[in-house]
């Protein structure tokens, strides 16, 4: 089997010792020693409380950590080999680790976890992000329960999040997946999620790993595969998600692994999404996610400036990508002062759709297309923040809903641009 060569010998030996598992917790890491200890304690706690009788294993896929992250994780296994441990557990709880590469590649990490899950015949698997420091033990239950007891194939998380946290998700990924694939999955890019053995095996076989080995953003692919494959999907409320520290320079890699992956997927999934119209709610458990309204430090001026600069400097690039009318409109709003500046929803939707079409046709190098989206996104963020500056949670939710409907309404425009110039 292909998996056999993909996994290291030592890791395979450890899998043999584990034998079989009911629940598998995947933890991809790279230099996370600061946060991962507490997270594994929480995972353990969640397992011992919610699933004390199940055979559970924690699989750490490590991308070449140099700060002792793997050792931290494996030291937290519960077994009779360390009688001094004061944690009571009915059975052994394994925590094993493998180094899949010397540099972090989340696609390879996920593939490792999927392969381990298949070999161990785990019924329910979850993946936890090593950056989720706010995780509680209920998160574990909330992710596993729908798969283990209720037969769902994919569990997508929902959180209480700040209204300005995750704007790429709320302004692009969520509405676009919703409009094109017809599924209202709020966290289109999942940092933690649960999936069934069925979905995992199929994704492992079907996905073209050789093309995009190491590509980040495979989680998005998994979610889309679940949607297009007719798998049962649900959303489960986890808790409060704190914004993760990011630098401005991280926007482009982020776009690559989310929007880039989505655009690529559109090409292969064309037959599916081109025939769908409207969207449906996905079954949801737990509380309703709320938008939090604490004040957040935002440098609005810089956002608008980068938008304006982008529009002016990248004119030649945009000419290949956007339609003349859209580009003209962008130039127009770039000329507006800070007070009047607005990047309206309809224009944003057209922009995104035309980018998607251009990406599919490779009018210029695809990675350059993604990079050039960054300044436009910043402009959109500016408008979103301004419009929702003093809004209540309800109003923000309404605005997001409005944006989604706009995406759905303009879907024919995407189809039109997609098919033209073929």
């Amino acid at each position: 089997m292909e998996d056999g060569d993909f996994l290291a010998d030592d890791f395979l030996r450890q899998l043999i010792d584990v034998g079989e598992a009911d629940i598998l917790v995947g933890l991809p890491t790279h230099n996370n020693a600061r946060s991962v200890g507490a997270i594994v304690h929480t995972i353990r706690d969640g397992i011992l409380r919610g699933f004390p009788r199940e055979r559970t294993v924690i699989i750490n896929a490590d991308g070449g950590s140099r700060d002792g992250t793997p050792e931290l994780i494996t030291s937290l296994s519960i077994s009779d080999m360390r009688p001094a441990s004061n944690v009571y557990a009915l059975r052994t709880l394994h925590a094993i680790s493998t180094k899949y590469a010397s540099t972090p590649q989340s696609g390879v990490a996920l593939r490792t976890i999927l392969a381990a899950a298949e070999l161990l015949r785990a019924k329910a698997c979850i993946v936890i992000s090593p950056e989720s420091e706010g995780i509680t033990s209920e998160w574990i239950s909330s992710l596993i329960r729908p798969v283990y007891y209720e037969g769902f194939d994919l569990v997508s998380p929902t959180y209480h999040r700040h209204k300005f946290d995750g704007l790429l998700t709320t302004n692009l990924l969520y509405p676009m997946v919703r409009a094109l694939y017809g599924a209202r999955i709020r966290e289109a890019y999942m940092s933690e999620f649960g999936f069934s053995a069925r979905l995992g095996s199929q994704f492992l076989d079907r996905n073209q790993w050789s093309d995009e080995t190491g590509e980040n953003g495979t989680e998005l692919r998994l979610m889309l595969a679940a949607v297009t494959g007719g798998f049962r999907i649900c959303q489960s409320f986890l808790g409060k998600k704190d914004p993760v520290e990011r630098r401005a320079a991280d926007l482009v890699p982020t776009l690559r692994q989310s929007v880039g992956v989505l655009f690529s997927a559109l090409e292969s999934d064309f037959d599916v999404w081109s025939t769908i119209s409207g969207s449906k709610e996905v079954p949801t458990t737990g509380k309703d996610p709320e938008l939090l309204l604490e004040p957040l430090r935002v440098n609005r001026k810089r956002l608008r400036e980068m938008f304006v600069k982008g529009v002016s400097e990248l004119g030649s690039v945009f000419q290949s990508i956007l339609s003349p009318s859209t580009l003209a409109e962008l130039n127009r709003i770039a000329g507006l002062g800070e007070e009047e500046f607005r990047y309206p929803a309809e224009l944003w939707v057209r922009t995104v759709y035309e980018f998607a079409a251009a990406h599919q046709k490779s009018v210029i190098n695809r990675d350059h297309i993604i990079q050039s989206l960054a300044p436009l996104f910043r402009g959109r963020v500016f408008t979103f923040i301004v419009e929702n500056r003093s809004s209540s949670a309800n109003d923000v939710a309404k605005n997001i809903e409005g944006l989604c409907l706009e995406f759905e309404r303009l879907k024919p425009h995407l189809l039109e641009v997609w098919k033209s110039k073929e």
């Binding site: 300005f164 946290d165 995750g166 704007l167 790429l168 998700t169 890019y189 940092s191 914004p243 993760v244 520290e245 990011r246 630098r247 401005a248 320079a249 926007l251 482009v252 982020t254 776009l255 989310s258 957040l296 430090r297 935002v298 440098n299 810089r302 980068m306 600069k309 982008g310 400097e313 990248l314 690039v317 290949s320 490779s362 009018v363 210029i364 190098n365 350059h368 990079q371 050039s372 960054a374 300044p375 996104f377 963020v381």
Partner: protein
């Protein structure tokens, strides 16, 4: 007197006829070659066009920016250009071959030299083409990187990158064609050196702050600066 003229004339006509008789078969052969050549060149052009279409050559050319260049110059598409170029080249080859059959000495030498020159011409065209591709690609990459990193004057930077690469490509092309090699090389050396020196000075003195920020970002984990914000896109 009349007899002399007639005899001279008949001699001349006789010579001419002899000349004709000498060259006529060759002329016929030449015409045949030329005609066959035209046919072959045409067939090759059609085949080449199909191959290029299958290989999506158009897209490649667009990426290189060649298409834009050509359309600006009101020329037909790159694929068309290439096919026609190959057609003419092939036919020219056959023409020269036909001419050489005629046996005119000077021409034969020229023909031989021409055929020797062909591969280098072909290589030069290839280098130019891929050079254009690389220059266009790198220029755009630099432009995008500069815009997203908020570096001032991104278009200037993009142009600089494109220029450097084009200068380099052109010098290699000229060297390949054997035209003014030394001059081009020296010119390139001077231009490149001057550019590098200029950049170094600019970078070192004028771009001190930029350099510092760049290095800090790469090697030092620093607290967020005032103008950074707390937004996380995902």
């Amino acid at each position: 007197m009349r007899e002399m003229i007639i005899s001279e004339l008949s001699q001349a006509v006789h010579d001419l006829a002899r000349g004709f008789a000498h060259y006529l078969p060759r002329l016929i052969v030449m015409l045949v070659i030329v005609f066959a050549g035209w046919l072959i060149a045409y067939v090759i052009k059609v085949i080449l066009r199909s191959i290029l279409r299958l290989a999506k050559f158009d897209r490649l050319a667009e990426n290189a920016g060649a298409s834009q260049l050509l359309s600006k110059a009101a020329l037909p598409s790159a694929m068309e250009m290439l096919s026609r170029f190959v057609f003419w080249l092939t036919w020219l080859g056959f023409l020269l071959l036909g001419v050489s059959v005629l046996g005119i000495l000077g021409l034969q030498e020229q023909t031989a030299r021409f055929f020797l020159f062909l591969p280098r011409l072909f290589a030069a065209v290839l280098i130019l083409f891929f050079g254009l591709l690389a220059a266009g690609f790198s220029a755009r990459a630099a432009l995008l990187a500069a815009v997203n990193a908020n570096i001032p004057s991104p278009r200037l930077l993009s142009l600089a990158v494109r220029s450097i690469i084009m200068v380099f490509v052109l010098s290699v092309v000229f060297e390949e064609l054997g035209l003014a090699e030394q001059t081009m090389l020296v010119a390139f050396g001077i231009a490149f050196g001057a550019l590098m020196l200029g950049l170094a000075i600019a970078f070192g003195i004028g771009g001190r702050d930029l350099a510092r920020r760049f290095l800090e970002e790469k090697f030092v984990r620093v607290k967020k600066e005032k103008d950074e914000d707390e937004l996380s896109p995902l």
